[in-house]
């Protein structure tokens, strides 16, 4: 039986939201935020083409390298930091339990 993991999202007002995320639904961090109606626009629907789901990784989870599409998108986005990632490119896995992210400002 797949377990749910807990992910903490700090919104743009600084408020913390603890989200329960399923690991068996092929979902990613952007989609979890959307399912809880957090203000993530996700205009491109998850193709790493808009950066509206950009977030900063606050906890020290190892998420691996950014993929090529994500990397290229982050070259062009605003407010990019070293810990910037696109939520749509981070699949929800059991290793993500306890992850803390902060939503990047809107462009």
């Amino acid at each position: 039986m797949a377990v749910d993991v807990t992910i903490t999202v700090i919104d743009r007002g600084g408020e913390k939201h603890e989200l329960l995320a399923p690991t068996d639904m092929n979902m990613n961090v952007m989609e979890i935020c959307k399912s809880y109606e957090l203000p993530v626009q996700a205009t491109c629907g998850g193709m790493a083409m808009c950066a509206t789901c950009q977030c900063y990784i606050i906890s020290d989870h190892d998420l691996g390298e950014r993929n090529d599409d994500e990397e290229a998108m982050l070259w062009e986005a605003s407010f990019v930091k070293d810990n910037s990632r696109l939520g749509c490119q981070i699949p929800i896995t059991e290793e993500l339990d306890g992850l803390v992210i902060e939503l990047a400002p809107e462009e």
């Binding site: 626009q41 205009t43 491109c44 629907g45 193709m47 083409m49 808009c50 090529d68 990397e71 290229a72 070259w75 062009e76 986005a77 605003s78 407010f79 990019v80 462009e107």
Partner: protein, 356 residues
């Protein structure tokens, strides 16, 4: 002035298919799109990506789906106003509308169908102060006429295809080209990457990476840009230039449609029902990704359905007294405005005689 029955705003799959459904009802369509080619995000963002949930197609490339739709609607001879953005709308006394684009092209129509998807694609702007002061005063996000840069000093920023392509082109036109990019890696066609490498080695252009343009200076127009090197020292460098061209790709924005008096919710146009996808302004419909209603799904196949119901309602609105029932294309065929007629081959009734 262009006149039509249904003015469709947005040439994505939903807008294109609306032409077909309208054509079956003998209604003429005209399409406005801000991009230079039809297809919307399918051709602009991901023409080579396969789509797996178009009914009847196990997989189809986004670009091919658009080619097929263009072929499907050809008999209905839609008009196109491409490369222009729908700007203003004025309701006429007779209930019709005049829609004017940012370039002043006027369209007189009985019905407006907004199939605007995510909105019109606008250049993504860098996070630099006082951008508006310099816009069109040396700062542009899109190169319209490269000759404007002959013998000028140009700074280009970006790491994708358009930054590479324009660097290559302007290397022969401008007196000085500087390419600034956040990273040392570029992403584009192999040819372009290699060509830029060559230009750097031949000292034909200057490459500054990893670095970022942080500020623009100048009294009334761009005179120089301040570049921060992303090395340990975070060294700042000022480069004199006549033009600064950030090429950071396109991002969709709802744009002027947001000011048309339509009910907007979360960047989408609210339609009050799923009966015909009409907005709060009678005669204006919103179909496809641009609309929202309870249970909305942003899927191409849902856009097709919405376009179909919209056309039925538009027909009723244009011809309130005419009776009409939906006809299957397997029964009625497809009669184009170009005189073409496609119809299933009829079976014959013929006697088969006994062996003589």
């Amino acid at each position: 002035m262009i006149t039509t029955d249904i003015l469709i705003i947005g040439a994505g799959p939903t807008g294109l298919f609306a032409v077909f459904e309208a054509g079956l009802l003998k209604l003429k369509c005209h399409i406005i799109d801000a991009l230079a080619q039809p297809g919307g995000q399918l051709t602009e963002l991901y023409p080579k990506k396969p789509i797996y949930d178009i009914p009847g197609f196990p997989d189809v490339l986004a670009g091919d789906l658009i080619d097929n739709l263009m072929k499907q609607i050809e008999p209905f001879q839609p008009g196109f106003t491409l490369g222009e953005r729908a700007q203003t709308i004025e309701k006429q006394e007779d209930g019709s509308f005049i829609v004017t684009t940012n370039k002043g092209t006027q369209h007189h129509t009985k019905i407006v169908a907004i199939a605007g998807g995510l909105g019109s694609f606008e250049p993504r702007k860098p996070a630099i102060e006082n951008l508006d002061k310099y816009e069109d005063n040396g700062l542009v996000y899109m190169i319209k006429n490269p000759e404007d840069y002959r013998d000028k000093k140009v700074v280009i920023a970006g790491g994708g295809d358009s930054a590479l392509d324009w660097t290559i082109y302007l290397a022969d036109v401008a007196s000085e080209v500087t390419l600034v990019h956040r990273r040392e890696e570029f992403r584009g066609a192999l040819d372009s990457v290699e060509k830029v490498q060559e230009l750097v080695e031949q000292d034909k252009i200057r490459l500054i990476t990893p670095a970022e343009v942080k500020a623009i200076n100048g009294e009334s127009r761009v005179e120089s840009v301040e570049i921060q090197h992303n090395d340990k020292a975070k060294r700042m460098e000022v480069i004199e230039c006549d033009a600064f061209i950030p090429l950071f790709g396109l991002a969709p924005k709802l744009g002027p449609i947001a000011d048309w008096g339509l009910e907007i919710e979360k960047n989408a146009i609210k339609v009050d029902n799923t009966l015909d996808y009409q907005t709060n302004i009678p005669g204006i419909y919103a179909i496809g990704d641009v609309n929202t209603y309870p249970g909305k799904l942003k899927l191409i196949l849902c856009g097709f359905h919405e376009a179909t119901l919209m056309c039925q309602s538009a027909y009723q609105r244009i011809f309130p007294d005419k009776r009409y029932v939906m006809k299957y294309t397997t029964v009625g065929g497809v009669s184009g405005f170009d005189g073409s007629h496609k119809v299933a081959e009829k079976a014959v009734v013929k006697k088969i005689g006994q062996k003589a």
